[in-house]
Assembly symmetry: C2
Homo-oligomer: 335 residues x 2
């Protein structure tokens, strides 16, 4: 059987209170007994039970991470960065892939609460507002990453999506493109990116064309389908801004299939700068999110919140960076 605090107390000839104190470095213990206890702990390979200590009101040192899909490289990278920072700070993270399904979201949240996690970080795309509001009301430690909910006061770290959309569009405009389509996912961040896009168009005096905006789920498949649709229209775009890399890859594939070369006949820009962007051919011009930094910051913020529920709420906005690769090119004037 695993040794308990009683075992080490007995072996060290002290009380469990004393052992507890040396474990937690609280109270005042003579160097001598402290050393003895430490020695015994080592000898017995004693490890305090987090479960027991949690029951007395202490932390579980575990947080939940809700993301749409762990198999999506963008979220996998977010998860990794959150996990890394958690590890550094002594927190474990339990993974919850929700598939943007509000049922699963609710189920996971409920599960996490039963398990007394110390806090939860929510990544992009949380559908279930009701559950969220409850969490906020009961002041459950929460932090958002790559996701904003303007109407709720929740700590969050986000990318400046507006700027990202703006940068993309400006880049495309500078290459001479005027007819720029947007493949968007149905998330709020996409709306911001589109807003940036519109703003850039406006600055350039170009009229916004709603028919150029297509919304769908964030998959290669959808990117492909929507691109086919665009390409088959009477007045196809010369550039496509996909609000994530997966969609952008779908664009490239559709182009290839239709004999529309990227970037020669069609420029395409992605978003997120996932590992995929560097791997597709042509390598994707895309917007880099500082994922590692974001993961680090949510964890820090969440843990601050856990430690002090009255701490000022904050929203950290990080800036995107346009990574120009080979999928965009000056517009060829038709001869």
């Amino acid at each position: 059987m695993k040794p308990t605090i009683y075992d080490v107390a007995k072996a060290a000839g002290v009380s469990i209170a004393t052992v507890s104190k040396v474990i937690n470095n609280t109270g005042r213990i003579s160097e001598e007994t402290k050393k003895k206890v430490l020695d015994v702990m080592e000898e017995l390979r004693y490890q305090p039970s987090v479960v027991a200590s949690a029951l007395t009101g202490k932390r579980t040192y575990t947080i939940g991470l809700l993301i749409p899909d762990l198999a999506n490289p963008f979220f996998a990278e977010i998860a990794r960065s959150v996990e890394d920072r958690g590890q550094e700070l002594g927190f474990s993270v339990v993974m919850c892939s929700t598939d943007n399904d509000s049922k699963k979201e609710a189920k996971y949240i409920s599960l996490l609460k039963q398990k007394s996690v110390d806090g939860i970080v929510l990544a992009a795309g949380f559908q279930n507002d009701t559950v969220l509001k409850e969490l906020v009301q009961e002041k459950f430690p929460l932090a958002l990453i790559a996701r904003e909910i303007p109407e709720l006061a929740i700590d969050s770290v986000v990318l400046d999506d507006f700027l990202g959309g703006y940068q993309v569009t400006e880049h495309l405009l500078s290459l001479g493109h005027r007819r720029i389509a947007v493949l968007a996912e149905k998330a709020r961040s996409s709306k911001e990116r589109i807003r940036g896009y519109r703003h850039a168009l406006q600055n350039a005096g170009i009229e916004f064309d709603q028919s150029l905006i297509l919304a769908s789920e964030a998959t290669v498949e959808k990117g492909y389908r929507n691109t086919v649709q665009l390409l088959d229209s009477s007045d196809p775009p010369t550039a496509i801004f996909a609000t994530n890399d997966l969609l952008a890859i779908g664009v490239i594939q559709a182009g290839r299939e239709r004999g529309i070369g990227v970037p020669d006949d069609l420029s395409v820009v992605g978003f997120d700068n996932t590992i995929l962007a560097a791997i597709v051919d042509p390598p994707l011009t895309t917007v880099a999110q500082p994922i590692h930094e974001m993961g680090r910051q949510v964890m820090d913020i969440l843990i601050q919140r856990i430690e002090d529920e009255k701490k000022m709420k904050q929203r950290v906005v990080l800036l995107p960076e346009l990574v120009i690769r080979k999928s965009t090119k000056p517009l060829q004037v038709k001869k």
Copy 2:
């Protein structure tokens, strides 16, 4: 404050023992009181504390998943499949990315034990044999996925790597290739794949050339470097078998840089059939691992082990499937 079992007992006018019994569906309770208790539980939105129940010797319904790197698509997919099955069965999974660092492995294992997880699944590439042996000795519930340790009796679900390597090589041989290099990672599974490769060569009466085997870490970068090295050698291969997709992508990139076209001048085969394989250009001929099935099976096996430590140990071997795409082609005879 969150309601406890006492709150519902009081509100229902029964003892906590009774409440406990209806929660766990144990003992004999009259339909009447059962209903009352259930109602009260609902009304109070009571959720039993997993922490408290774990302290009395019950499960935590949490398992640990150790993988090299969550940001690697192959492992992300494994993680997702494990998580999915866990979710179905009521288990949470806490993620641990080890970077194949035996220090981190030991640290994570220790942490997981402190948190009283019910079991651990270990994915490919566990360095720290000492820790592992201890775990086995103390009969800690363990299961391996995509990883075999012949000298240790541990439940595991693996791919038939030998067959995978054989299939790849046979395919390449059938295309007329005779000089086939291998980029391997330093894992046992790679050794098996190489064994399959050698076996296929032998069957074809081709002599094995050790200089054609290069080992490294599993990154695009390493694949690139090693390919450059091969290409610059006096007698370069006409085909390269990379033991995972990441390496294979490095091969393609190196080829592109050197003006060696894939598949025209060089055939390349990957392994794992990650999302990347479908996305690179040319799409990668690769070996598909039934990841979803593997994840499902490890979880099932692990949970069986948790429930009955004396259950027969087993090793499930799933079969690979060669997915032929565009990165391989019959050898061009030089004119």
